[in-house]
């Protein structure tokens, strides 16, 4: 079966519309996931026993279940409890809840990679734990956290394709729509793959160059 590039070209505006949904959903989810992930990560490390346990349970529960499950629960199950989300917010909330757990672990490992001596030096100047976090540990963490965060961003772009299960017209869903309409089950998917790569490759490249700078 040959790739019908003419068809891809013809349907490109339609596919790009789907890619815009994919991209905007990724960005919105990522912003919430990063903020929540930072908070969860800090509570996990410094929140004491109770908050530490709660956040640990959350992180492990999310990491041990498929993201798709979370999306289906939020979109199909929560309305029964009176929580009605439209498609986009439902998808964004699910993905943010899911990625916040991953990102919490990113922050935790970054903080743990800062040598103990940095905290000791901060304490020896009379700083409180909060001050040493604010002025010494976190500023050093943010550099180390950027490359893995960029990787999470690229992974999230791909995972947004799960929203096809709740009939959101993202890039993957629209390429399947083209397939259904033209009986070409190959070319539109190739087109979608190329558009995904255009989005993810630069980010992964950027992440690698950041990693080199950090070293």
């Amino acid at each position: 079966m040959a790739i019908d590039f003419r068809l891809i070209w013809e349907k490109l505006p339609f596919l790009l519309g789907g890619a815009w949904t994919t991209f905007s959903l990724t960005c919105v989810s990522m912003v919430f996931a990063t903020v929540a992930g930072l908070i969860v990560g800090l509570l996990n490390m410094f929140g004491g026993r109770v908050l530490g346990t709660i956040t640990r349970v959350y992180i492990e529960a999310v990491r041990g279940t498929p993201a798709l499950l979370l999306i289906l629960i939020v979109y199909y199950a929560l309305p029964r409890f009176g929580l009605n989300f439209p498609q986009f917010p439902a998808a964004a909330v699910s993905l943010a809840v899911c990625y916040a757990a991953y990102i919490a672990e990113v922050f935790r490992s970054a903080v743990e990679s800062i040598p103990m001596g940095q905290t000791e030096a901060a304490y020896s100047l009379g700083m409180s734990r909060l001050q040493s976090l604010r002025y010494i540990i976190l500023p050093q963490t943010f550099r180390r956290v950027l490359p893995p965060l960029a990787n999470e961003f690229a992974a999230l772009i791909k995972d947004t394709s799960l929203v096809a299960f709740i009939s959101m017209e993202d890039l993957l869903f629209r390429s399947k729509m083209v397939s259904a309409a033209t009986y070409d089950y190959f070319s539109p998917l190739v087109g979608a793959a190329l558009i995904y790569l255009v989005m993810t490759l630069p980010i992964m490249q950027w992440s690698r160059s950041l990693e080199k700078k950090v070293d």
């Binding site: 040598p115 001596g117 940095q118 000791e120 030096a121 304490y123 020896s124 100047l125 009379g126 700083m127 409180s128 001050q131 002025y135 010494i136 500023p139 050093q140 550099r143």
Partner: protein, 253 residues
């Protein structure tokens, strides 16, 4: 002002029967000593003797397991006194420098006064420049630690500790991680501090420095003080066999 007053009282530090265990391992097994204002004490001993742990206990970076510490007339007890206030008054210089890599030399020195003492930034930075000049690093003020040699980083660390105007300076093997040819520049700064009347406790194997600066040498082994005296007494007429053994090895090195 306040310094002059406390100075006349003589004593700055009393350590009584200090113990420190990590789990079941007892690293310090009952150490007592005192320190007067402006006194320079050198702590020596083989690795694993507990000397580093001892100085780390003094500012509560390692909380002692039991025993008393009285600093500047105040009993130090976690909870019963403000450990942070104590740390403001005790400067510490680490073996691994522990300078802040994301900050310039100037910011490293100014940060403590700005954050802890709430000094205005301009004042703190002006004083930080003076301190960097004092340790011979005026020209490196805007460099980050990554661009500096070990000797330079350690001098930044000394300036950083001095910026808090400590009443006592602790040095935990300050030259052990520094290239041989750069050790002198760090020791010179420490000698200068001693000459200005800084009260200091120095963990070091630098015999030359000890002879030049120390009022008293304490020799530790296996968590206990086994010998104490002036540098001349301890180095030239060590009473204990373990001290003699250790000194002969250091002399060879």
């Amino acid at each position: 002002m306040a310094d002059e007053k406390t100075c006349s009282t003589g004593r700055i530090l009393d350590v009584v029967d200090l113990h420190k265990s990590f789990g079941t391992l007892e690293v310090i097994k009952g150490v007592s000593f005192g320190l007067d204002h402006k006194e320079r004490l050198v702590l020596m001993g083989p690795s694993g003797s507990g000397k580093s742990t001892l100085v780390r206990c003094l500012n509560w970076i390692e909380p002692p397991t039991s025993g008393r510490i009285v600093f500047d007339g105040q009993e130090v007890q976690a909870g019963a006194c403000d450990i942070r206030k104590l740390r403001e008054d005790i400067g510490m210089v680490f073996q691994q420098f522990n300078v802040f890599p994301h900050l310039t030399a100037l910011q490293n020195v100014a940060l403590g006064p700005i954050v802890v003492k709430k000094l205005p930034r301009a004042d703190a930075e002006a004083e930080a420049r003076e301190l960097l000049a004092k340790v011979g690093l005026a020209h490196r003020a805007d460099h980050k630690p990554g661009q500096m040699s070990g000797g330079e980083q350690q001098r930044v660390a000394i300036a950083r500790a001095l910026a808090m105007h400590p009443k006592l300076m602790l040095f935990d093997e300050p030259t052990s991680s520094i290239d041989v040819e750069l050790i002198r520049e760090v020791l010179d700064v420490m000698v200068k501090l001693a000459d200005e009347g800084m009260t200091m406790i120095v963990v070091t194997h630098e015999m030359g420095f000890a002879k030049e600066v120390a009022d008293r040498v304490i020799f530790m082994d296996r968590g206990l003080i086994i010998e104490t005296g002036t540098p001349a007494e301890v180095f030239e007429h060590p009473q204990q066999e373990r001290t003699q053994n250790f000194l002969s090895k250091v002399h060879l090195a």
